[in-house]
């Protein structure tokens, strides 16, 4: 049988591990755009091109091409950044973007209106901060989201480490990234694989992993392809219940598409979880429907084959079956604004951020305020799946300093919105 591959699949195959002609496109300075094919490939690199629709017609008459720019999304597992990283990311917004940082529902930052000529510089600066943009979009594992639980700091720290490990483990490997963005020399050789896990066709569609720490469900965990629910026994993390095949997206007009909550598959101990995630992604890699893109998400694979089939495949791929899922309860899915003291005595402040937009406006100098906070803060920042921000791990001694800045800049600690606890 010699059927023609769908366009999206062929493109990945022909891309020489996500290189395409992206580098040439970036070097072509007479246009602010890149080719359509390259635009599909840059998604794997965390970026895609848009144009300013309102200006299209005006610019066409002015014999100017559309005003093209790029969205760039970062890979920040669990949405945690240090104050130093915050300051760096903040500076990039001015240097390469429109002076705004956007917190997304997948706990990461997005830059908008990045011009082609500034893309490389942006990527380099992001990488210099120890972060990257790999797989923030594209047919690979996306940013791993995690509950931001401000109460149990030790559990949060451990879960965050695990989310980072999963994210790193499922990150694509091709030399394309370093070559295109970081000026490294080309290592491509025909016939030599650069993707031990993904292979040359990557996944059939995007793939999302989320982690919840009960009873909080702020990450809306069952809407992910893999939903991990932390199981804590005697104040210790022991492992995760694993549910598979969630996803809320549907394509308008395509009746065969539907939203689906993940189906519970069983329990995996914490030291096995990274490998288990790889196994599950491998099942989707090998059995996902690559012939119809609208039917390519993992939820359709699960729906088509059933959970028993999945469990069989899991056992086969993993060498070991999951054990029975353990009891848990997910109750809350909003953010809890304001000050909260954790079990270890450290303070956490959840700020309301209007549509995740970290910018300075006349009414609110939010970006400046957070920059000032980052300069004195000794803990970390955590982005929530509701596009809000937690200033986490503030020592009792530091609390008044942060309070003073919150007061000075009139930041919204949730008093101005109705919160749903």
């Amino acid at each position: 049988m010699n059927t023609k591959l769908p366009e999206a699949e062929q493109l990945k195959l022909d891309s020489r591990y996500l290189r395409g002609t992206i580098a040439e496109g970036l070097d072509d300075v007479v246009t602010g755009s890149i080719s359509e094919d390259d635009n599909k490939l840059t998604k794997f690199h965390g970026s895609y091109m848009q144009d300013h629709r309102d200006l299209r017609d005006e610019r066409r008459r002015q014999k100017l091409e559309p005003l093209y720019s790029f969205m760039v999304r970062l890979r920040i597992a669990g949405g945690v950044v240090t104050p130093q990283q915050w300051l760096g990311l903040d500076a990039i917004a001015d240097d390469c973007s429109n002076g705004t940082l956007r917190i997304t529902t997948r706990q990461t930052f997005q830059y908008h209106e990045v011009l082609k000529k500034d893309l490389r510089s942006l990527m380099q600066q992001v990488n210099a901060l120890g972060l990257d943009t790999k797989g923030a979009c594209g047919d690979v594992n996306r940013n791993v989201v995690t509950n931001v639980n401000p109460h149990q700091s030790s559990v949060h720290a451990e879960v965050h480490q695990i989310s980072q490990a999963i994210s790193d483990h499922l990150c694509w490997q091709s030399g394309a990234y370093a070559e295109i963005w970081l000026d490294e020399t080309c290592v491509y050789q025909p016939g030599k694989s650069e993707e031990p896990f993904y292979g040359d066709r990557y996944l059939p569609r995007k793939f999302k992993i989320g982690i919840a720490i009960p009873p909080e469900n702020d990450s809306d965990v069952l809407a992910n392809d893999i939903a991990l629910i932390a199981i804590i026994e005697n104040d210790e993390l022991v492992g995760f219940n694993v549910a598979v095949g969630g996803g809320m997206g549907m394509t308008y007009g395509e009746t065969a598409t539907f939203p689906r909550l993940a189906t519970m598959a069983g329990f995996v101990p914490k030291d096995q979880i990274v490998k288990a995630c790889e196994t599950i992604a491998a099942i989707q890699r090998d059995f996902g429907d690559r012939s119809v893109r609208a039917h390519a998400r993992f939820k359709y694979t699960i729906d088509d084959h059933g959970i028993e089939w999945f469990n069989e495949k899991f056992t086969e791929y993993h060498g070991e079956a999951m054990t029975a899922a353990r009891p848990f309860e997910l109750v809350r899915n909003g953010d809890r604004f304001g000050w909260i003291q954790g079990e270890d005595g450290q303070w956490h402040l959840t700020l309301y951020i209007y549509s995740g937009r970290v910018a300075d406006t006349e009414a609110l100098q939010l970006r400046t305020a957070l920059r000032e906070i980052a300069k004195v803060h000794t803990g970390e920042f955590r982005m929530t799946c509701n596009q809000n921000l937690i200033i986490a791990n503030i020592s009792p001694e530091q609390k008044p300093v942060i309070e003073q800045l919150v007061e000075q800049y009139q930041l919204d600690i949730g008093e101005r919105v109705r919160h749903y606890v």
């Binding site: 300075v29 007479v30 246009t31 602010g32 200006l55 005006e58 610019r59 066409r60 008459r61 002015q62 014999k63 100017l64 091409e65 005003l67 011009l115 000529k117």
Partner: protein, 599 residues
């Protein structure tokens, strides 16, 4: 003076009569008489004047007309002179200076030198070689050569008509005799040039035999024909078709693409030609000026032998935005102002004062006690037409002409000011307006005749205009030669003039290379000359392949910097000394492979 000619075949009485006659004659009358006598004799022996034998032809005056011209003005005037002279029976050879062999000079009898001035008092490109020859030690003695010089220039430049002056001085130094004195024309050169032609031709014919042929019918006919055509003196009122801002939002520039209809005019142009536009002054400025002078706006003034209202005269016919040194000098004589007189003592001070000021400033700073509207109008220059490089090819747009106009706006001495033509086109032109235009041909900026020849086009800013015309033409012609464009401006996002068209031509393969320099998109300024230097090897290779290089746009900085870059490339890639590289480039100019249209 008494003629005593022992061997003369005349009776004493005849001799006496001759003496009586000759004593009362001026030199030119004697010249005429001598011509008349030979004609008379020819008639006696039955030889028609027009078919004069060799003896007569030898006596006909041989005039060589040399012109140095960049944008075609002087070339046109030289053509008129040649026609006039021919019609008066003079044997005329008309030469582009670049094509004339300088060593021929010593064999010339009568010579007309017509030249414009460019750069900062420099000769136009095609005059360069002759200019240098005359100023070198190779220049021969020119005793016996009779000449006159006509210079075209612009008195708002510091070195007004400098090249004409230089030619005049050199010819004189080399021993040549001026038939009539040199005339320096300002931007409103038509009338003065015509007068100089008439006087020069008159002086020549008067020294020619009287039996010279009357103007032939065909010459008269051709004059009649040209008078019904639209030209600089008779512009065509062309309807505006489109007036589109090209500069994107946020640009600090304001560049417009203007499409004009030539339908029914019979006007033809070629890529590389310019469009002459007769603009109107800003009515607001005109009324401020009239108020400052205390005149009545509707009063009638005499203008080129016609009556006009003062407002009309100032709006349509006289230049009020540019101050020239001659105007300030005349003003100083009238003003009797100690301050102005003091200023006039230093040339540099005047130049400095003039900068950014206009006639209104002059009127306000140094009011004249008694001057009336007529007297005031007489002081002013004619409002000269503005030239715009044509941005279209008739092969593609038929009876339309497109231009690309940068609006000139600036603040000087606490007043917002604007360029006359560019703000008229930008702000004060109704949608159904007509624009008085003519074609200003420029044979020094032409595509290669060979469609396979590669071309390199260097045109930052509005300098890109003629290259749009070049590309349209080459596309229509199916020309196969490779095309390379260097463009530059301030910002990529907003100032990339005709971006979508260049991109489409690059995609179609017509435009082989497209290199851009946006000066203000990064901390260090990058201009086209930097891009050119980056491409040294390729440019040298293209030159080896016979490429023609075209430069259009800014004359002050861009053109000299590009020239410098080219010399460096030729010297480095071609392993030549700087001198040899300069000569190489000069040779390209002679071969019409390096052409410039700068302003």
């Amino acid at each position: 003076m008494n003629i005593r000619l022992p061997n003369a075949p005349l009776t004493d009485e005849q001799l006496q009569q001759l003496n009586n006659l000759l004593q009362g004659l001026e030199g030119w009358q004697v010249d005429w008489l001598s011509g008349y006598l030979s004609g008379y004799r020819a008639a006696q022996v039955g030889t028609a004047v027009m078919e004069a034998g060799p003896s007569l032809a030898e006596q006909a005056i041989k005039l060589t007309v040399l012109y140095g011209s960049q944008t075609g003005n002087t070339e046109a005037v030289a053509g008129q002179l040649a026609e006039k002279a021919k019609a008066s029976g003079i044997e005329v050879k008309l030469w582009d200076m670049a094509e004339y062999k300088p060593r021929e000079l010593k064999n010339e009898q009568y010579l007309a030198v017509l030249t414009s001035t460019h750069g900062e008092g420099e000769p136009p490109d095609n005059a360069m070689d002759l200019y240098e020859f005359l100023n070198s030690r190779k220049a021969p003695g020119l005793k016996g050569l009779h000449y006159s010089v006509l210079s075209l220039g612009d008195s708002s430049y510091e070195f007004f008509c400098q090249t004409g002056k230089d030619f005049d001085e050199r010819l004189q130094k080399l021993g040549a005799t001026a038939v009539i004195p040199r005339v320096d024309c300002d931007v409103d050169y038509d009338d003065l040039a015509e007068k100089w032609i008439a006087e020069f031709v008159g002086a020549l014919t008067s020294s020619m035999q009287a039996s010279a042929a009357p103007p032939s019918a065909s010459a008269a006919m051709s004059q009649l024909e040209t008078s019904v055509q639209y030209d600089r003196k008779h512009p065509f009122s062309a309807p505006l078709l489109e007036n589109q801002l090209l500069s994107g939002r946020g640009s600090s520039k304001e560049v417009r693409h203007i499409e004009i209809s030539l339908e029914g005019s019979g006007l033809q142009y070629e890529p590389g030609d310019a469009l002459g536009v007769y603009p109107q002054n800003d009515p607001a400025l005109v009324s401020m000026l009239i108020d400052a002078l205390g005149f009545d706006a509707d009063s009638s003034v005499e203008l080129d032998e016609q009556q006009e209202t003062l407002t009309n005269a100032l709006m349509h016919h006289r230049e009020i935005t540019v101050l020239t040194r001659p105007l300030v000098e005349k003003w100083a004589e009238l003003a009797q102002s100690d301050e102005l007189n003091k200023l006039m003592e230093s040339k540099a001070a005047v130049t400095e004062w003039i900068r950014g000021r206009d006639v209104l400033d002059l009127v306000q700073s140094y009011p004249l006690a008694d001057i009336d509207a007529n007297g005031f109008i007489k002081l002013l220059r004619k409002l000269p037409p503005r030239l715009y490089s044509i941005a279209s090819s008739q092969a593609a747009v038929d009876e339309e002409v497109h231009i690309t106009v940068a609006t000139v706006r600036y603040n000087a001495h606490n007043r917002e000011r604007g360029g006359v033509a560019s703000t008229w086109l930008a702000d004060r032109l109704a949608e159904d307006a007509t624009i008085p235009v003519y074609i200003d041909p420029n044979k020094n900026f032409k595509l290669p005749a060979d469609d396979n020849a590669p071309i390199i086009m260097i045109g930052p800013g509005t300098g890109v205009a003629p290259f749009r015309s070049f590309m349209q033409e080459r596309e229509e012609r199916g020309a196969r030669g490779p095309n390379w464009l260097f463009f530059g401006d301030q910002h990529f996002l907003t100032d990339f003039l005709y971006q979508t068209e260049w991109l489409a031509w690059r995609k179609s393969g017509l435009l082989t290379h497209l290199d851009v320099a946006f000066s203000r998109d990064q901390t260090e300024k990058i201009y086209v000359q930097h891009r050119i230097r980056e491409k040294s090897i390729e440019i040298w290779n293209w030159l080896q392949d016979g490429a023609h290089i075209y430069v259009c746009g800014d004359a002050d900085n861009m053109a000299p910097d590009v020239n410098e870059a080219l010399i460096d490339i030729i010297s480095q890639q071609g392993n030549k000394s700087r001198e040899d590289a300069t000569e190489y480039l000069r040779q390209l100019t002679r071969d019409k492979r390096y052409q410039r249209d700068v302003y």
